[in-house]
């Protein structure tokens, strides 16, 4: 999309990496990587977790010092001096988890550490004026005197980009920028990226989402095990090839949905309501069935799952399991009744990061008698779960924060399997995990369904729902907007229901 069309690739790169290597104790994170980045291109770096993408970004933004190799900017080799130096050279990073101070205003954040001053006093009016101009360039029409704490995630991200622009960035690095954005916000971000590249700014873009890579990339670099596998123009790759390069083998089917006999109703939910959040939601799931929850961000998908699990209080509604009415008052009761909920945000709500893999697996169902733990039993449970779910960890005692995203997710799945739950809610189970691990996660979900469990799958990524689910329930503004059977599945129908578009009848 940028200026770096095919005929212009021969011109001088903004940034050139030559034989860059980073060795951590015992691990070769980046191995002899050479790479050119040209003005105005969107250069996507793809690869599985642990492939070395993030380390490469940290080397570029001088957060880490390379073990060997040279980085040149505009043909001049640069020395290592830290992130501020990299920024002064025109390399800025938009972090995945945003690094803004919530209690300061937008303008104060943009100029943090570089406040424009007159006679030693901060020039507040100049600051605000300049910030407004920068916000306009990233498509934000809001008052720069507003506090960052009141901004949406998408707006905060845009402020980060504005901050990069204020530093006169030539190369903006974005690490999974769409991970927490809605569809509309993603489109807006892409517009911003197009505007930047049109002005000759290069974008280095890390992403897991294949659909995005094909939409936005001019060139794609694939990394695996710290090595650069290939750098190719977008025209030369398709989905299958990209996956093969990333994973190192063919993945036959991203969405392995098993053919399963669907049994009796397991979970029935009637009239769940919570003021301003959920309105009269009723649905049921059968044994062996995978029911999808679709909807825009904020439509109430997670809230409905949490309401059933009683992680949040509800104002009305009844829950029936196997035809028996439950009186659930807390997650504790829900677990006892046979309901499990795998949270959307692994690190925030799911894992006890300072504890070991084994302790996380048994957290919801400790093997204990009269309050006294059976540590031998715990170890056996953990070993069995590791083998069954193929959790890759050097030992079951390893602290869970040292595992990759996909393996952390499996630890949580293992936890809920140990509770023998009949109903499992999977809330965005593939967020932030790589392609190979995704296919594995879906295989696992399919297997759990075929064992006769009722599965509810929440996802913002429609292809996941369309491929994996038997039915899709679409939420809009806290209400159930409709339920689609597999025969009725289409992306358009789901979107129409989710947005309340009129043409739903026509479709």
């Amino acid at each position: 999309m940028g200026v770096a069309g095919e005929g212009e690739v021969h011109r001088q790169p903004i940034v050139r990496l030559q034989n860059i290597t980073k060795r951590f104790p015992g691990v070769l994170a980046v191995d002899e990587v050479s790479l050119d980045i040209y003005p105005g291109e969107v250069h996507v770096v793809a690869g599985e977790n642990g492939a070395g993408k993030s380390t490469l970004m940290k080397l570029l933004s001088q957060v880490e010092r390379p073990t060997k190799g040279t980085i040149s900017i505009n043909g001049q080799p640069v020395h290592f001096s830290g992130p501020q130096y990299a920024q002064s050279l025109g390399i800025s990073m938009v972090y995945q988890e945003f690094a803004l101070a919530p209690h300061l205003s937008i303008a104060q954040n943009i100029f943090l550490g570089r406040e424009p001053a007159r006679l030693g006093f901060i020039d507040r009016r100049g600051e605000v004026r300049h910030a407004r101009e920068l916000l306009r360039r990233v498509g934000l029409n809001i008052d720069p005197r507003r506090f960052v704490s009141g901004l949406s995630v998408a707006e905060q991200q845009r402020v980060e980009i504005a901050k990069a622009l204020s530093l006169d960035a030539k190369l903006v690095i974005m690490d999974e920028p769409t991970a927490t954005l809605t569809g509309q916000e993603i489109e807006e971000l892409f517009d911003v990226i197009r505007n930047l590249t049109a002005k000759g700014i290069a974008i280095l873009y890390i992403s897991h989402r294949l659909d995005e890579i094909f939409r936005i990339a001019d060139r794609v670099t694939v990394m695996r095990d710290g090595q650069l596998i290939a750098t190719l123009p977008r025209a030369d790759i398709d989905e299958k090839k990209l996956i093969r390069l990333m994973v190192g083998r063919d993945i036959a089917n991203l969405y392995p949905k098993p053919v399963t006999a669907i049994g009796d109703v397991v979970l029935r939910v009637e009239g769940i309501a919570r003021a301003h959040v959920l309105h009269d939601c009723s649905f049921e799931v059968r044994a062996g069935e995978i029911l999808g929850f679709a909807g825009l961000v904020g439509a109430g998908r997670t809230e409905l799952a949490r309401a059933v699990f009683r992680a949040d209080h509800i104002d009305a509604g009844t829950i029936w399991l196997d035809g028996r009415r439950l009186s659930i008052k807390s997650p504790d009761d829900a677990i006892d009744a046979g309901i499990g909920y795998l949270t959307e945000d692994r690190k925030k709500d799911g894992l006890a990061l300072t504890l070991g893999v084994h302790q996380n697996i048994t957290l919801a169902n400790l093997p204990a008698f009269a309050g006294i733990l059976n540590l031998g039993q715990e170890k056996r449970i953990a070993v069995r779960a590791r083998d069954q779910l193929r959790i890759r960890t050097p030992s079951i005692q390893r602290r869970v924060n040292l595992l990759s995203g996909g393996n952390q997710q499996k630890v949580i799945v293992a936890r809920w399997l140990e509770t023998r739950a009949r109903v499992l809610f999977f809330d965005e189970p593939t967020r932030g995990i790589d392609v190979g691990a995704k296919a594995e996660m879906f295989e696992l979900i399919g297997r759990l369904a075929s064992e006769g469990r009722a599965i509810i799958l929440i996802s913002s990524y429609l292809p996941e729902l369309l491929n994996m689910c038997d039915r899709i329930l679409v939420l809009r503004e806290g209400r159930i907007a409709g339920v689609l059977n597999r025969a009725q599945f289409s992306e358009e129908r789901v979107i129409a229901l989710a947005t309340g578009a009129k043409e739903v009848e026509v479709l």
């Binding site: 709500d349 894992l351 990061l353 300072t354 302790q359 309050g371 030992s395 040292l402 295989e443």
Partner: protein
């Protein structure tokens, strides 16, 4: 259903094993070594300090002196064991000094005013501490005050109650046998040492082998994950603060026993020593980390430095400076080690 649930059989298990094999051995060995070294560092520091003092002062390695160190440390260590639970759950208890004083005062009052035997008085003082802990726990979980604010307030309230109980007058006229608890010995083995070992073993068991201990770690590590895993946070925290209160009250009785009196000004600033011992022992104020053995080492390290400084005639004001430095070093080393460990992945 149960049968099928168990048989979530793995496909491609070999592949996982294969992948594991090449990462595993070297890294596992290194991590295990790093863990052992970390445990040994604090213990090693304690040993080094002991060796230095035994060379520097002939009085250090004497029976009397060691006996003295142990009875001095027991009070701090017993309370710090409770603090270990509190800090692991990502809490803090600033009221332990006042609670210990209140337990000591009321416990000794019971002994001197009624004619019950002194062990019942010790039990009474301990229960008084437990009551204070219960109020702390309820304020934290039901009124949703932060542990810091709750116990900051309690620090003042309990101290006020101490002064109110006798009009700030010390309690005397206690039986001589009461001194056994804090200063006695059986066949040459110090009774406070026995008390400390028993408390420590029970606490170790509670922390590592029971639901309560595991729940404390889980709540400190990630309260939301704990709640969504069906753990009752309120119940667990109340039990933890009651336990801390009981141990503070008991510690107060041991201290009273050492001076055979109830002293209204006992335990001012004690909370800082207790927290320091816990932190030097590797507990993280962010929660989720800490061990009983580490806390014991921390408590003894502080006590030995104080004792050695006295023997060497080092100005007592310098002791405070040295102990502050030890806190910095211990936490710095701990963080340095963790950073290195996590940067590997």
């Amino acid at each position: 259903m149960k049968e099928t649930v168990k048989s979530t059989a793995g496909v491609g298990l070999d592949q996982a094993k294969e992948q594991e094999a090449h990462v595993s051995f070297a890294r596992r060995l290194r991590e295990r070594l790093a863990d052992i070294v970390a445990q040994l560092t604090a213990a090693g520091a304690l040993i080094v300090v002991c060796i230095v003092f035994s060379i520097a002062s002939p009085d250090f390695l004497t029976f009397n002196n060691l006996f003295n160190i142990i009875s001095q440390t027991t009070v701090t260590a017993v309370i710090a064991i409770g603090m270990t639970f509190v800090i692991i759950s990502a809490g803090i208890d600033l009221s332990v000094g006042s609670t210990a004083a209140l337990g000591g005062m009321l416990g000794t009052l019971i002994i001197s005013r009624t004619n019950v035997s002194w062990p019942l008085g010790v039990l009474g003082g301990t229960l008084v501490g437990g009551g204070i802990g219960l109020v702390n726990g309820l304020l934290i979980t039901k009124a949703r005050l932060s542990p810091f604010i709750t116990t900051l307030g309690m620090m003042s309230v309990a101290r006020g109650l101490v002064y109110l109980s006798t009009g700030a007058v010390a309690v005397y006229s206690l039986p001589d046998s009461f001194a056994l608890l804090g200063e006695g010995s059986i066949d040459g083995i110090s009774i406070p040492l026995i008390v400390l070992v028993v408390v420590a073993v029970l606490a170790y068991f509670l922390l590592t082998r029971t639901r309560l201990g595991r729940h404390a770690y889980a709540i400190g590590s990630n309260p939301e994950a704990a709640r969504l895993s069906g753990i009752s946070i309120a119940f667990t925290l109340i039990v933890i603060y009651v336990l801390q209160g009981l141990l503070a009250g008991f510690g107060g009785m041991i201290a009273s026993s050492r001076v055979v009196s109830g002293q209204p000004n006992f335990g001012i600033g004690l909370e800082l020593d207790v927290i320091a011992a816990t932190v030097i022992g590797g507990a993280s104020l962010f929660g989720g980390q800490g061990t009983i053995i580490g806390t014991l080492i921390g408590a003894f390290l502080i006590a030995v430095i104080r004792n050695g400084a006295v023997l060497l005639n080092i100005n007592e004001f310098y002791q405070e400076v040295i102990i502050g430095g030890v806190i910095w070093l211990a936490v710095y080393w701990d963080q340095f080690r963790r950073r290195r460990l996590s940067s590997v992945s």
